[in-house]
């Protein structure tokens, strides 16, 4: 991020207060994405706006409000877990149907992601997209320059999906392997996979380490069914993610 010579302080003040005209947000987002000075100023203005209610005469919330929030929070939490449990059972009962549905969903997701990424080459839109609903890691080609992959890490921090394209098909005794390289400790395997005739694959992965404790992710080619540590060159890699 670099400083831009032309700052937009008027718009930043209005933005932080929610008073920007319709249609101006994209222009400000774009500027802030490339101007460290304005990004910092906007963060300060947002803090100021958030602190304004301190000047209001405090009103005590209704005594039963917390109970209502807790009750609703409990309903939402089991629903997430229940959906996961049902999903697992469903996968066991009808693996082919489930696999087709997951593949269809991932194709849709990937197409939409590609479309949105193409539309918003940079800036907060991508940032927002990458945070919905968990974390997004984009791997780009190292030894395989035409290849790319996107990892969508689930909210639970332990699983995810990876969409890959541009890798060559492998011989039967070979597999691709995804590795997390922690800041400390040995490489951790996250998935082994092969690609279809078009060089594509959609893979369910496990997330073996917190991304915040990981220095890079790489994909290598290994002997089937996979190795305990990477032996081949890095074909795809990512060093930054959100």
């Amino acid at each position: 991020m670099t400083d831009s010579s032309e700052h937009i302080v008027d718009e930043l003040a209005a933005y932080a207060l929610g008073a920007l005209e319709t249609g101006e947000h994209a222009r400000v987002d774009e500027h802030v994405a490339t101007c460290a000075s304005c990004a910092s100023r906007l963060a300060e203005y947002r803090g100021l706006a958030g602190a304004l209610p301190l000047a209001l005469a405090p009103i005590t919330p209704p005594s039963d409000l917390w109970d209502a929030i807790r009750s609703e929070a409990r309903q939402r939490r089991p629903r997430v877990r229940m959906r996961s449990a049902i999903g697992t059972r469903w996968l066991r009962v009808a693996p082919w149907v489930a696999a087709a549905a997951v593949a269809a969903w991932l194709v849709t997701w990937n197409v939409r992601l590609q479309s949105e990424l193409a539309q918003y080459a940079q800036g907060p839109q991508v940032e927002k997209l990458a945070r919905r609903p968990a974390r997004l890691v984009i791997l780009s080609g190292a030894a395989q320059s035409q290849a790319s992959a996107r990892i969508f890490a689930a909210v639970d921090g332990q699983s995810g999906h990876m969409a890959i394209s541009g890798l060559p098909r492998l011989a039967a005794e070979r597999v691709y392997q995804l590795w997390f390289l922690p800041k400390a400790g040995p490489p951790l395997t996250a998935a082994t996979f092969t690609v279809d005739a078009d060089g594509r694959a959609w893979v369910v992965i496990k997330v073996p380490a917190d991304l915040d404790d990981t220095r890079s992710l790489i994909v290598t080619e290994e002997a089937a069914p996979g190795n305990r540590a990477p032996t081949g060159p890095s074909l795809l890699e990512a060093r930054e993610w959100r």
């Binding site: 008073a19 963060a43 958030g50 405090p58």
Partner: protein, 192 residues
């Protein structure tokens, strides 16, 4: 400033793991301020309740995620609450909007019986900073933040040129920034 037993970002981290006590602690810290803000914007206890509930549930189920680069946790929560309240305000009848817009400016805050000392200081600091602004500057900020008006709408409302409203808003925010900068950036300043 008092030392917080658990930092706000840590509470959010525990919430992501489903720790209900972290949500309760966050509500205990900021529920009152969120409710006060919501009441000021929507002017209706039932709607304010809805705003508070939605704000904390959004932080709980991950529909809104906290980004430390964009400021402290309470200012993030206020942003969610303000946007929800303005959405509700805009969805109501024009008459209701007019009535709320005609509401008196925020009362001067008095010390709340349950306020911890650091909150008393924070409230006093913000009040003093707002008093330093001109009436026109303060009005422009209030119409934007609490009224949900765009700058063009504010200019129409006050019968002033758009450029005047823009410069007034910027000058006001700059003056507030100079006075409130330490409060905004400090790790303390817990509010209730």
């Amino acid at each position: 400033m008092s030392i917080e037993p658990v930092a706000d970002p840590e509470l959010l981290g525990r919430m992501r793991l489903g720790d209900e006590s972290a949500l309760e602690a966050l509500y205990a810290r900021y529920g009152g301020l969120v409710y006060t803000l919501a009441q000021r914007i929507v002017g209706d206890p039932e709607l304010a309740r809805e705003v508070v509930q939605d704000t904390f549930l959004r932080s709980w189920d991950g529909r809104d995620t906290y980004d430390p680069e964009r400021g402290r946790v309470p200012w993030w929560l206020m942003g969610i609450a303000r946007n929800r309240a303005i959405d509700l305000l805009r969805s109501r009848s024009h008459q209701a909007r007019l009535r709320e817009r005609a509401a008196p400016p925020p009362e001067i805050s008095t010390t709340h019986a349950r306020d911890p000392a650091d909150t008393v200081v924070a409230r006093r600091t913000v009040l003093d900073a707002l008093r330093e602004l001109s009436d026109g500057q303060r009005r422009a900020i209030e119409l934007a933040y609490y009224g949900g008006l765009t700058q063009t709408e504010i200019a129409n409302e006050l019968g002033e040129p758009l450029g005047t409203i823009k410069s007034r808003t910027r000058e006001a925010m700059e003056r507030l920034r100079k006075v409130l900068g330490p409060l905004i950036q400090s790790a303390g300043g817990r509010t209730s």
